[in-house]
Protein backbone atom coordinates (compact mmCIF):
# COMPACT_ATOMS: atom_id res chain seq x y z
CA UNK A 1 0.00 0.00 0.00
CA UNK A 2 1.38 3.42 -0.88
CA UNK A 3 2.27 5.58 2.11
CA UNK A 4 -0.20 8.29 3.05
CA UNK A 5 -2.94 6.63 1.03
CA UNK A 6 -6.04 8.83 1.04
CA UNK A 7 -9.09 6.94 -0.17
CA UNK A 8 -11.50 8.59 -2.57
CA UNK A 9 -15.11 7.81 -1.79
CA UNK A 10 -17.92 8.78 -4.13
CA UNK A 11 -21.05 9.60 -2.13
CA UNK A 12 -24.51 9.64 -3.70
CA UNK A 13 -26.75 11.65 -1.36
CA UNK A 14 -30.46 12.21 -1.76
CA UNK A 15 -31.65 15.79 -2.02
CA UNK A 16 -34.14 15.58 0.83
CA UNK A 17 -32.30 13.89 3.68
CA UNK A 18 -28.62 13.00 3.50
CA UNK A 19 -27.59 15.97 1.37
CA UNK A 20 -29.31 18.25 3.88
CA UNK A 21 -27.47 16.44 6.68
CA UNK A 22 -24.22 17.23 4.87
CA UNK A 23 -25.37 20.82 4.54
CA UNK A 24 -26.17 20.96 8.23
CA UNK A 25 -22.79 19.45 9.08
CA UNK A 26 -21.19 22.28 7.11
CA UNK A 27 -23.32 24.99 8.69
CA UNK A 28 -22.61 23.53 12.14
CA UNK A 29 -18.88 23.38 11.41
CA UNK A 30 -18.74 19.70 12.16
CA UNK A 31 -15.40 18.30 11.05
CA UNK A 32 -15.17 15.00 9.20
CA UNK A 33 -12.81 13.30 6.79
CA UNK A 34 -12.47 15.22 3.51
CA UNK A 35 -12.35 12.07 1.39
CA UNK A 36 -15.90 12.01 0.05
CA UNK A 37 -16.97 13.49 -3.27
CA UNK A 38 -20.68 14.17 -2.95
CA UNK A 39 -23.07 13.75 -5.88
CA UNK A 40 -26.53 15.08 -5.12
CA UNK A 41 -29.46 13.16 -6.56
CA UNK A 42 -33.14 13.74 -6.03
CA UNK A 43 -33.53 10.29 -4.45
CA UNK A 44 -31.31 7.38 -3.45
CA UNK A 45 -33.61 5.40 -5.74
CA UNK A 46 -32.02 7.25 -8.65
CA UNK A 47 -28.72 5.45 -8.07
CA UNK A 48 -28.34 3.18 -11.08
CA UNK A 49 -25.91 0.29 -10.50
CA UNK A 50 -24.04 1.74 -13.49
CA UNK A 51 -23.20 4.83 -11.39
CA UNK A 52 -21.63 2.66 -8.70
CA UNK A 53 -19.64 0.51 -11.10
CA UNK A 54 -18.57 3.56 -13.10
CA UNK A 55 -17.26 5.17 -9.90
CA UNK A 56 -15.22 2.05 -9.11
CA UNK A 57 -14.05 1.78 -12.73
CA UNK A 58 -12.85 5.39 -12.67
CA UNK A 59 -10.79 5.01 -9.54
CA UNK A 60 -13.09 5.40 -6.53
CA UNK A 61 -11.94 3.31 -3.58
CA UNK A 62 -15.42 3.26 -2.07
CA UNK A 63 -19.01 4.23 -2.81
CA UNK A 64 -21.47 5.49 -0.19
CA UNK A 65 -25.19 5.90 -0.81
CA UNK A 66 -27.18 8.07 1.60
CA UNK A 67 -30.97 8.18 1.64
CA UNK A 68 -33.96 8.92 3.84
CA UNK A 69 -34.94 6.56 6.63
CA UNK A 70 -37.52 3.89 5.72
CA UNK A 71 -40.94 5.51 5.66
CA UNK A 72 -39.46 8.98 5.13
CA UNK A 73 -38.83 8.88 1.37
CA UNK A 74 -39.99 12.07 -0.33
CA UNK A 75 -41.21 9.85 -3.16
CA UNK A 76 -42.85 7.25 -0.89
CA UNK A 77 -40.79 4.21 -1.79
CA UNK A 78 -37.60 5.21 -3.60
CA UNK A 79 -35.42 4.19 -0.68
CA UNK A 80 -37.06 0.75 -0.51
CA UNK A 81 -36.11 0.20 -4.13
CA UNK A 82 -32.58 1.23 -3.22
CA UNK A 83 -32.57 -1.23 -0.33
CA UNK A 84 -33.49 -4.16 -2.59
CA UNK A 85 -31.17 -3.10 -5.39
CA UNK A 86 -28.27 -2.66 -3.00
CA UNK A 87 -28.81 -6.18 -1.60
CA UNK A 88 -28.36 -7.56 -5.10
CA UNK A 89 -25.53 -5.22 -6.00
CA UNK A 90 -23.60 -6.31 -2.89
CA UNK A 91 -23.75 -9.88 -4.12
CA UNK A 92 -22.50 -8.81 -7.53
CA UNK A 93 -19.65 -6.75 -6.06
CA UNK A 94 -18.52 -9.74 -4.00
CA UNK A 95 -18.21 -11.73 -7.25
CA UNK A 96 -16.29 -8.83 -8.77
CA UNK A 97 -13.73 -9.04 -5.97
CA UNK A 98 -14.72 -5.73 -4.35
CA UNK A 99 -14.65 -5.92 -0.54
CA UNK A 100 -17.98 -5.27 1.24
CA UNK A 101 -16.54 -2.34 3.22
CA UNK A 102 -16.12 -0.41 -0.02
CA UNK A 103 -19.84 -0.15 -0.67
CA UNK A 104 -22.28 1.12 1.90
CA UNK A 105 -25.90 2.23 2.12
CA UNK A 106 -26.93 4.42 5.06
CA UNK A 107 -30.15 6.14 6.03
CA UNK A 108 -29.25 9.62 7.28
CA UNK A 109 -31.99 12.19 7.87
CA UNK A 110 -31.68 15.94 7.40
CA UNK A 111 -31.07 16.47 11.12
CA UNK A 112 -28.44 13.76 11.56
CA UNK A 113 -25.29 15.74 10.79
CA UNK A 114 -23.47 13.93 13.59
CA UNK A 115 -24.40 10.58 12.16
CA UNK A 116 -23.12 11.66 8.75
CA UNK A 117 -19.80 12.52 10.35
CA UNK A 118 -19.62 9.13 12.10
CA UNK A 119 -20.52 7.17 8.96
CA UNK A 120 -18.07 9.02 6.72
CA UNK A 121 -15.21 8.83 9.22
CA UNK A 122 -15.82 5.15 9.83
CA UNK A 123 -15.98 4.28 6.15
CA UNK A 124 -12.88 6.31 5.31
CA UNK A 125 -10.94 4.44 8.00
CA UNK A 126 -12.19 1.06 6.82
CA UNK A 127 -11.33 1.78 3.20
CA UNK A 128 -7.99 3.28 4.19
CA UNK A 129 -7.18 0.03 5.97
CA UNK A 130 -8.10 -1.95 2.83
CA UNK A 131 -5.89 0.17 0.60
CA UNK A 132 -6.56 1.33 -2.93
CA UNK A 133 -8.91 -0.66 -5.15
CA UNK A 134 -6.31 -1.68 -7.68
CA UNK A 135 -7.48 -3.15 -10.93
CA UNK A 136 -5.66 -6.42 -11.46
CA UNK A 137 -6.87 -6.62 -15.03
CA UNK A 138 -7.26 -3.59 -17.23
CA UNK A 139 -9.02 -4.68 -20.44
CA UNK A 140 -6.41 -3.16 -22.75
CA UNK A 141 -3.53 -4.69 -20.84
CA UNK A 142 -1.63 -7.45 -22.57
CA UNK A 143 0.09 -10.23 -20.69
CA UNK A 144 3.64 -9.37 -19.77
CA UNK A 145 4.96 -12.71 -18.76
CA UNK A 146 4.58 -15.67 -21.00
CA UNK A 147 2.98 -18.93 -19.92
CA UNK A 148 0.49 -20.50 -22.14
Amino acid sequence: MPENFEPTIVAFFCNWCTYLAADLAGASRIKYAPNIRVVRLMCSGRVDAQFVLDAFARGADGVLIGGCHPGDCHYQEGNYKTLRRVALLKRLLAQMGIEPERFRLEWISASEADRLKTVVNEMVEQVRALGPLRRSAVPSEAAEEVHA
Binding site: D48, R85, A137
Partner: protein, 323 residues
Protein backbone atom coordinates in the same frame (compact mmCIF):
# COMPACT_ATOMS: atom_id res chain seq x y z
CA UNK B 1 -11.40 -9.40 -61.01
CA UNK B 2 -15.02 -9.74 -59.99
CA UNK B 3 -17.17 -6.72 -59.26
CA UNK B 4 -18.87 -8.41 -56.33
CA UNK B 5 -18.06 -7.30 -52.76
CA UNK B 6 -15.18 -9.37 -51.38
CA UNK B 7 -15.72 -10.65 -47.86
CA UNK B 8 -13.95 -12.68 -45.20
CA UNK B 9 -15.35 -14.63 -42.27
CA UNK B 10 -13.15 -15.39 -39.31
CA UNK B 11 -13.51 -16.87 -35.84
CA UNK B 12 -11.67 -16.01 -32.66
CA UNK B 13 -12.67 -17.14 -29.12
CA UNK B 14 -16.02 -18.60 -30.08
CA UNK B 15 -17.92 -21.87 -30.09
CA UNK B 16 -18.57 -22.19 -33.81
CA UNK B 17 -22.23 -21.30 -33.38
CA UNK B 18 -21.81 -18.11 -35.39
CA UNK B 19 -20.42 -20.12 -38.31
CA UNK B 20 -23.40 -22.40 -37.93
CA UNK B 21 -25.66 -19.35 -37.98
CA UNK B 22 -24.36 -18.43 -41.44
CA UNK B 23 -25.04 -21.96 -42.67
CA UNK B 24 -28.47 -21.74 -40.99
CA UNK B 25 -29.45 -19.21 -43.63
CA UNK B 26 -30.33 -22.46 -45.47
CA UNK B 27 -31.23 -21.82 -49.10
CA UNK B 28 -30.87 -18.08 -48.50
CA UNK B 29 -27.12 -18.67 -48.31
CA UNK B 30 -27.17 -19.22 -52.07
CA UNK B 31 -28.23 -15.61 -52.47
CA UNK B 32 -25.36 -14.55 -50.21
CA UNK B 33 -22.89 -16.59 -52.22
CA UNK B 34 -24.32 -15.10 -55.41
CA UNK B 35 -24.06 -11.55 -54.05
CA UNK B 36 -20.56 -11.66 -52.58
CA UNK B 37 -17.18 -13.16 -53.31
CA UNK B 38 -15.93 -15.05 -50.23
CA UNK B 39 -12.14 -14.69 -50.05
CA UNK B 40 -11.42 -16.21 -46.64
CA UNK B 41 -13.48 -18.48 -44.38
CA UNK B 42 -11.37 -21.05 -42.49
CA UNK B 43 -14.34 -23.12 -41.36
CA UNK B 44 -15.62 -23.71 -44.89
CA UNK B 45 -13.04 -22.80 -47.53
CA UNK B 46 -9.40 -23.68 -48.00
CA UNK B 47 -7.81 -20.24 -47.96
CA UNK B 48 -4.85 -19.70 -45.64
CA UNK B 49 -3.48 -16.81 -43.66
CA UNK B 50 -0.85 -16.15 -46.36
CA UNK B 51 -3.65 -15.68 -48.87
CA UNK B 52 -4.97 -12.85 -46.72
CA UNK B 53 -1.49 -11.42 -46.23
CA UNK B 54 -1.03 -11.37 -50.00
CA UNK B 55 -4.10 -9.14 -50.51
CA UNK B 56 -3.54 -5.41 -50.99
CA UNK B 57 -4.60 -3.39 -47.92
CA UNK B 58 -8.27 -2.48 -48.06
CA UNK B 59 -8.91 -5.12 -50.72
CA UNK B 60 -11.77 -6.78 -48.84
CA UNK B 61 -15.09 -4.99 -48.72
CA UNK B 62 -15.88 -6.43 -45.30
CA UNK B 63 -14.51 -8.84 -42.71
CA UNK B 64 -17.03 -10.55 -40.45
CA UNK B 65 -15.26 -11.55 -37.25
CA UNK B 66 -16.95 -13.64 -34.60
CA UNK B 67 -15.55 -14.58 -31.20
CA UNK B 68 -13.82 -12.63 -28.47
CA UNK B 69 -10.09 -11.93 -28.31
CA UNK B 70 -8.19 -14.09 -25.84
CA UNK B 71 -4.92 -14.98 -27.53
CA UNK B 72 -2.07 -13.35 -29.41
CA UNK B 73 -3.10 -15.28 -32.53
CA UNK B 74 -6.65 -13.93 -32.43
CA UNK B 75 -5.37 -10.41 -31.89
CA UNK B 76 -2.92 -10.73 -34.78
CA UNK B 77 -5.66 -12.02 -37.12
CA UNK B 78 -7.98 -9.19 -36.06
CA UNK B 79 -5.28 -6.65 -36.91
CA UNK B 80 -4.53 -8.37 -40.22
CA UNK B 81 -8.19 -8.41 -41.26
CA UNK B 82 -8.62 -4.81 -40.12
CA UNK B 83 -5.82 -3.83 -42.49
CA UNK B 84 -7.22 -5.81 -45.41
CA UNK B 85 -10.89 -4.89 -45.00
CA UNK B 86 -12.61 -1.56 -45.48
CA UNK B 87 -15.32 -2.59 -43.02
CA UNK B 88 -14.93 -4.76 -39.95
CA UNK B 89 -18.13 -6.27 -38.59
CA UNK B 90 -18.22 -7.74 -35.08
CA UNK B 91 -20.43 -10.74 -35.65
CA UNK B 92 -22.23 -12.23 -32.65
CA UNK B 93 -22.24 -11.63 -28.91
CA UNK B 94 -18.61 -12.69 -28.30
CA UNK B 95 -17.15 -10.25 -30.81
CA UNK B 96 -19.54 -7.51 -29.72
CA UNK B 97 -19.43 -7.93 -25.92
CA UNK B 98 -17.01 -10.74 -25.06
CA UNK B 99 -19.84 -13.25 -24.84
CA UNK B 100 -19.74 -16.38 -22.72
CA UNK B 101 -15.91 -16.57 -22.94
CA UNK B 102 -15.89 -13.13 -21.30
CA UNK B 103 -17.10 -14.69 -18.05
CA UNK B 104 -13.54 -15.96 -17.71
CA UNK B 105 -12.72 -12.40 -16.63
CA UNK B 106 -13.98 -13.37 -13.17
CA UNK B 107 -10.81 -15.44 -12.80
CA UNK B 108 -7.09 -15.07 -13.30
CA UNK B 109 -5.27 -16.70 -16.18
CA UNK B 110 -3.47 -18.92 -13.69
CA UNK B 111 -6.76 -20.14 -12.20
CA UNK B 112 -8.12 -20.92 -15.64
CA UNK B 113 -5.05 -22.86 -16.76
CA UNK B 114 -4.94 -24.74 -13.49
CA UNK B 115 -8.62 -25.65 -13.70
CA UNK B 116 -8.31 -26.81 -17.30
CA UNK B 117 -4.96 -28.61 -17.17
CA UNK B 118 -4.59 -29.75 -13.55
CA UNK B 119 -7.82 -29.82 -11.54
CA UNK B 120 -10.50 -31.03 -13.94
CA UNK B 121 -11.56 -34.58 -12.93
CA UNK B 122 -10.84 -36.09 -16.33
CA UNK B 123 -7.31 -34.70 -16.54
CA UNK B 124 -4.20 -36.76 -15.79
CA UNK B 125 -1.25 -34.41 -15.61
CA UNK B 126 1.04 -35.61 -12.85
CA UNK B 127 3.93 -33.41 -13.90
CA UNK B 128 1.63 -30.38 -13.87
CA UNK B 129 2.58 -29.34 -17.40
CA UNK B 130 0.87 -26.18 -18.64
CA UNK B 131 0.78 -25.03 -22.25
CA UNK B 132 3.64 -22.69 -22.98
CA UNK B 133 4.42 -20.32 -25.79
CA UNK B 134 7.57 -22.16 -26.76
CA UNK B 135 8.59 -25.75 -26.08
CA UNK B 136 11.39 -27.99 -27.31
CA UNK B 137 10.18 -31.44 -28.32
CA UNK B 138 12.20 -34.13 -30.13
CA UNK B 139 14.67 -31.55 -31.38
CA UNK B 140 11.99 -29.21 -32.66
CA UNK B 141 11.04 -25.84 -31.26
CA UNK B 142 7.24 -25.69 -31.03
CA UNK B 143 5.20 -22.51 -30.67
CA UNK B 144 1.73 -21.77 -29.36
CA UNK B 145 -0.15 -18.47 -29.27
CA UNK B 146 0.02 -16.55 -26.03
CA UNK B 147 -3.00 -16.73 -23.74
CA UNK B 148 -3.84 -13.16 -22.66
CA UNK B 149 -4.78 -12.26 -19.09
CA UNK B 150 -8.29 -11.14 -20.07
CA UNK B 151 -10.94 -11.69 -22.68
CA UNK B 152 -11.64 -8.61 -24.81
CA UNK B 153 -14.46 -7.73 -27.18
CA UNK B 154 -13.26 -7.09 -30.73
CA UNK B 155 -13.56 -3.30 -30.48
CA UNK B 156 -11.00 -3.18 -27.67
CA UNK B 157 -8.45 -4.53 -30.15
CA UNK B 158 -9.36 -3.01 -33.53
CA UNK B 159 -11.77 -0.37 -34.74
CA UNK B 160 -15.15 -1.95 -35.47
CA UNK B 161 -17.55 -0.45 -38.02
CA UNK B 162 -20.70 -2.48 -37.35
CA UNK B 163 -22.05 -4.98 -34.87
CA UNK B 164 -24.35 -7.93 -35.56
CA UNK B 165 -25.72 -9.01 -32.17
CA UNK B 166 -26.85 -12.39 -30.92
CA UNK B 167 -25.71 -15.74 -29.61
CA UNK B 168 -25.91 -16.64 -32.36
CA UNK B 169 -27.34 -13.96 -34.70
CA UNK B 170 -30.62 -15.21 -36.12
CA UNK B 171 -31.05 -15.71 -39.88
CA UNK B 172 -33.37 -12.72 -40.01
CA UNK B 173 -30.82 -10.48 -38.27
CA UNK B 174 -28.02 -11.69 -40.56
CA UNK B 175 -30.10 -11.08 -43.69
CA UNK B 176 -31.10 -7.65 -42.40
CA UNK B 177 -27.47 -6.83 -41.65
CA UNK B 178 -26.26 -7.94 -45.08
CA UNK B 179 -29.03 -5.98 -46.78
CA UNK B 180 -28.14 -2.89 -44.73
CA UNK B 181 -24.44 -3.20 -45.59
CA UNK B 182 -25.06 -3.77 -49.30
CA UNK B 183 -27.58 -0.94 -49.60
CA UNK B 184 -26.72 2.36 -51.24
CA UNK B 185 -27.20 4.13 -47.90
CA UNK B 186 -25.48 2.05 -45.23
CA UNK B 187 -26.25 2.84 -41.57
CA UNK B 188 -23.92 5.19 -39.67
CA UNK B 189 -20.60 3.59 -38.59
CA UNK B 190 -20.70 2.10 -35.10
CA UNK B 191 -24.31 0.93 -35.50
CA UNK B 192 -25.61 -2.28 -34.06
CA UNK B 193 -27.53 -3.80 -36.95
CA UNK B 194 -30.72 -4.62 -35.02
CA UNK B 195 -33.68 -2.64 -33.68
CA UNK B 196 -32.84 -0.14 -30.95
CA UNK B 197 -35.56 -0.93 -28.41
CA UNK B 198 -35.98 -3.43 -25.61
CA UNK B 199 -36.98 -7.03 -26.24
CA UNK B 200 -40.20 -6.60 -24.21
CA UNK B 201 -41.48 -4.44 -27.09
CA UNK B 202 -41.64 -7.43 -29.41
CA UNK B 203 -42.41 -10.08 -26.79
CA UNK B 204 -45.59 -12.11 -27.43
CA UNK B 205 -46.33 -11.94 -23.67
CA UNK B 206 -45.97 -8.19 -23.52
CA UNK B 207 -49.61 -7.53 -22.65
CA UNK B 208 -49.36 -9.74 -19.55
CA UNK B 209 -46.51 -7.69 -18.07
CA UNK B 210 -48.01 -5.90 -15.07
CA UNK B 211 -47.92 -2.12 -14.94
CA UNK B 212 -46.22 -2.36 -11.55
CA UNK B 213 -44.01 -5.39 -11.35
CA UNK B 214 -43.58 -6.83 -7.85
CA UNK B 215 -42.69 -10.43 -7.10
CA UNK B 216 -42.25 -12.29 -3.80
CA UNK B 217 -38.99 -13.96 -4.85
CA UNK B 218 -36.82 -15.01 -7.78
CA UNK B 219 -37.01 -18.53 -9.15
CA UNK B 220 -34.59 -20.44 -11.32
CA UNK B 221 -36.10 -21.83 -14.54
CA UNK B 222 -35.99 -25.47 -13.37
CA UNK B 223 -37.76 -24.68 -10.10
CA UNK B 224 -41.16 -23.76 -11.48
CA UNK B 225 -43.41 -24.85 -14.32
CA UNK B 226 -43.81 -21.48 -16.00
CA UNK B 227 -47.17 -20.63 -17.53
CA UNK B 228 -46.78 -20.22 -21.27
CA UNK B 229 -48.92 -17.16 -21.69
CA UNK B 230 -47.75 -14.90 -18.88
CA UNK B 231 -44.79 -12.53 -18.57
CA UNK B 232 -41.91 -14.59 -17.20
CA UNK B 233 -40.75 -11.76 -14.96
CA UNK B 234 -44.18 -11.62 -13.35
CA UNK B 235 -43.71 -15.33 -12.57
CA UNK B 236 -40.45 -14.62 -10.78
CA UNK B 237 -38.05 -15.76 -13.50
CA UNK B 238 -35.05 -13.54 -14.17
CA UNK B 239 -35.86 -12.44 -17.72
CA UNK B 240 -33.45 -9.85 -19.14
CA UNK B 241 -35.92 -8.70 -21.78
CA UNK B 242 -36.26 -5.19 -20.32
CA UNK B 243 -32.47 -4.67 -20.51
CA UNK B 244 -31.82 -6.39 -23.83
CA UNK B 245 -31.99 -5.20 -27.42
CA UNK B 246 -34.82 -6.56 -29.53
CA UNK B 247 -34.37 -8.36 -32.83
CA UNK B 248 -34.52 -12.06 -31.98
CA UNK B 249 -38.34 -11.98 -31.87
CA UNK B 250 -38.22 -13.37 -28.34
CA UNK B 251 -36.96 -16.78 -29.38
CA UNK B 252 -36.20 -17.97 -25.85
CA UNK B 253 -39.46 -16.67 -24.41
CA UNK B 254 -41.33 -18.50 -27.17
CA UNK B 255 -39.57 -21.60 -25.88
CA UNK B 256 -40.81 -20.71 -22.37
CA UNK B 257 -37.33 -19.76 -21.19
CA UNK B 258 -36.37 -16.29 -19.91
CA UNK B 259 -34.22 -14.00 -22.04
CA UNK B 260 -30.56 -14.28 -21.04
CA UNK B 261 -29.51 -11.07 -22.79
CA UNK B 262 -27.47 -12.19 -25.83
CA UNK B 263 -28.44 -9.23 -28.01
CA UNK B 264 -26.70 -6.86 -25.60
CA UNK B 265 -27.92 -3.46 -24.47
CA UNK B 266 -29.71 -0.79 -26.48
CA UNK B 267 -27.77 2.31 -27.48
CA UNK B 268 -28.93 4.17 -24.36
CA UNK B 269 -27.29 1.76 -21.93
CA UNK B 270 -23.55 1.56 -21.26
CA UNK B 271 -23.47 -1.54 -19.04
CA UNK B 272 -26.15 -4.14 -19.70
CA UNK B 273 -25.61 -6.19 -16.55
CA UNK B 274 -25.71 -3.19 -14.22
CA UNK B 275 -28.81 -1.88 -15.93
CA UNK B 276 -30.57 -5.24 -15.67
CA UNK B 277 -29.62 -5.44 -12.00
CA UNK B 278 -30.90 -1.92 -11.42
CA UNK B 279 -34.27 -2.75 -12.93
CA UNK B 280 -34.76 -6.25 -11.56
CA UNK B 281 -33.23 -5.51 -8.18
CA UNK B 282 -36.15 -3.29 -7.31
CA UNK B 283 -39.00 -5.71 -8.04
CA UNK B 284 -38.83 -7.79 -4.86
CA UNK B 285 -42.05 -7.14 -2.96
CA UNK B 286 -40.57 -6.60 0.47
CA UNK B 287 -39.02 -3.90 2.58
CA UNK B 288 -37.52 -6.22 5.14
CA UNK B 289 -33.82 -6.96 4.78
CA UNK B 290 -34.07 -10.60 5.86
CA UNK B 291 -36.97 -11.24 3.49
CA UNK B 292 -35.09 -9.53 0.65
CA UNK B 293 -32.06 -11.73 1.24
CA UNK B 294 -34.31 -14.81 1.17
CA UNK B 295 -35.93 -13.64 -2.07
CA UNK B 296 -32.47 -13.40 -3.68
CA UNK B 297 -31.85 -17.12 -3.12
CA UNK B 298 -33.30 -17.76 -6.57
CA UNK B 299 -30.52 -15.64 -8.04
CA UNK B 300 -27.34 -17.36 -6.81
CA UNK B 301 -25.04 -16.01 -9.52
CA UNK B 302 -25.75 -12.34 -10.28
CA UNK B 303 -22.58 -11.86 -12.36
CA UNK B 304 -23.26 -14.92 -14.50
CA UNK B 305 -26.93 -14.00 -14.84
CA UNK B 306 -26.77 -10.28 -15.60
CA UNK B 307 -23.45 -10.39 -17.48
CA UNK B 308 -23.94 -13.73 -19.23
CA UNK B 309 -22.68 -12.20 -22.50
CA UNK B 310 -21.37 -8.75 -21.61
CA UNK B 311 -18.89 -9.02 -18.74
CA UNK B 312 -15.82 -8.29 -20.89
CA UNK B 313 -17.50 -5.15 -22.28
CA UNK B 314 -18.83 -4.00 -18.89
CA UNK B 315 -17.65 -0.96 -16.94
CA UNK B 316 -15.35 -3.08 -14.78
CA UNK B 317 -14.50 -5.53 -17.57
CA UNK B 318 -14.34 -8.37 -15.07
CA UNK B 319 -13.50 -9.00 -11.45
CA UNK B 320 -11.30 -6.28 -9.99
CA UNK B 321 -9.54 -8.69 -7.67
CA UNK B 322 -9.62 -12.26 -8.84
CA UNK B 323 -9.14 -14.53 -5.87
Amino acid sequence: MSEKPRVAFYWCASCGGCEEAVVDLAEEILKVVAAVDIRFWPVALDFKKHDVEAMPDGDLTAAFINGAIRSSEQEEMAHLLRRKARLVVAFGACAQLGGIPGLANLYTREQILSAAYKESPSTVNEEGILPSVSTRQNGYQLHLPEFWKSVKPLDQVVQVDYYVPGCAPTPKIIQGALAALLSSEPPPPGSVLAPDHALCDECPRRDSKPEKLLIPRFHRPHQIAAAEDTCLLAQGLVCLGPATRAGCEALCVRGNMPCSGCFGPTSRVRDQGAKALTGLGAVIDSSDETAIEAAMEGLPDPAGTFYRYSLAASLLGGAVKRA
